[in-house]
Symmetry: C2
Subunit: 205 residues, 2 copies
Amino acid sequence: MGNVADQQDIKREKILEAAYQQFLHYGYSKTTMNEIAGALSMSKALLYYYFPDKSQLYIAVTRKLADDYLKLLDEKLSKTGDLKDAFVCQIDTHHDFIVNNYNFFDFIRLNEQSLPDTIWEIVEHIRQTEMTLLGNAIKTDAEKGNISKVDNPGEIVDLLLDALQGVRVGTMGYRKTTFPKKEHLEEIHRKRLLLVDIFIRGLKH
Amino acid sequence: MGNVADQQDIKREKILEAAYQQFLHYGYSKTTMNEIAGALSMSKALLYYYFPDKSQLYIAVTRKLADDYLKLLDEKLSKTGDLKDAFVCQIDTHHDFIVNNYNFFDFIRLNEQSLPDTIWEIVEHIRQTEMTLLGNAIKTDAEKGNISKVDNPGEIVDLLLDALQGVRVGTMGYRKTTFPKKEHLEEIHRKRLLLVDIFIRGLKH
DNA sequence: TTTTTGATAATTTTGTTTAAAAAGTCAGGA
DNA sequence: TCCTGACTTTTTAAACAAAATTATCAAAAA
């Protein structure tokens, strides 16, 4: 039977899900704690029983989202063959992740200058995990002899991820904010695929 | 002898020079038209005789700066040997340009969201000229047979410039504004050199 | 006629107040 | 322990005033 802790976790999950839907639909600042509570037919005060404040709630949703993304990426990567496939898989999965949750991230877009450290920790955790996963892919490919031996796979992956980031920024024509506009996402995606193609050939001996 | 138009041009140059020094030292918003006039021992009203307003003055200085940069880059590139040298030359020259004028660009840093179109035209002019110069370098190298034939050198250069941009953004750890902090410049420089190295090898057949 | 200026007008920035809305708290009920 | 309605505190925004700065102009100087 479900004990007390289980029940709490289930409720927390329900709150996270409802909050996620609201944030996704209206963005952070336009959704009120009252609305989230209303969607769950519970009182606003109860939200504060489970989460210390609004930003912590948002961060908890973000963390869950990130974990889901990394889990999915790990699964997909384990099914890829060579290094090229692995990078393309990362790019595709990441692309879908951003597209599907675009509105959710408006909090990050609007507060880029002063985001709580916890958000950056999540972003860095994603980056770190991606680096580990893709770093392993490089090592595997190097052992197979498909590419020349690399001293520091981590640095190479880091560099490629930076370069991919740049395709995003550059594609926006240097204008406006750092966060990509929806209409640019497809072009970003296309250019990234091209970059990977060249980059990988640069690693082959 | 100097005619009237010459005299005007000389005065305009002097104003541009004084304004450049002030902007470089104090940044855009902290320098007043009074201070620029003071540095030239002339009245503020005279500045408005030569330039329509403060932002136009700033833009004129920026344009001059950009022209000087592109002229220097062109000279330097004409002395380079292979493609790798050319890209490294571009990266070095650009790096110096940013470092030496860092404070001057605080107007751009602070107003990233809403810059006048003229500024963006200058930025795009720089990008366009860089693309032409480096595109020619690629074509030359392809004719020599150093690298495999490329259909569209422009697209390749564009992609590389985007990637280099990304090294900049990525190096800042995803944090804060789009404009690089001074303490990151050296690291950006180093990583860009590495990226070029790999990228060029990717183009070789 | 062109260049220059002091005085002045117009605009932008900065700071303050105030009211509404939303966040966050708490004593007490189930 | 979980939950709520009523309450307090904080944030947001709009409106306004004061100060600083940009921009103009009639008239003087070259």
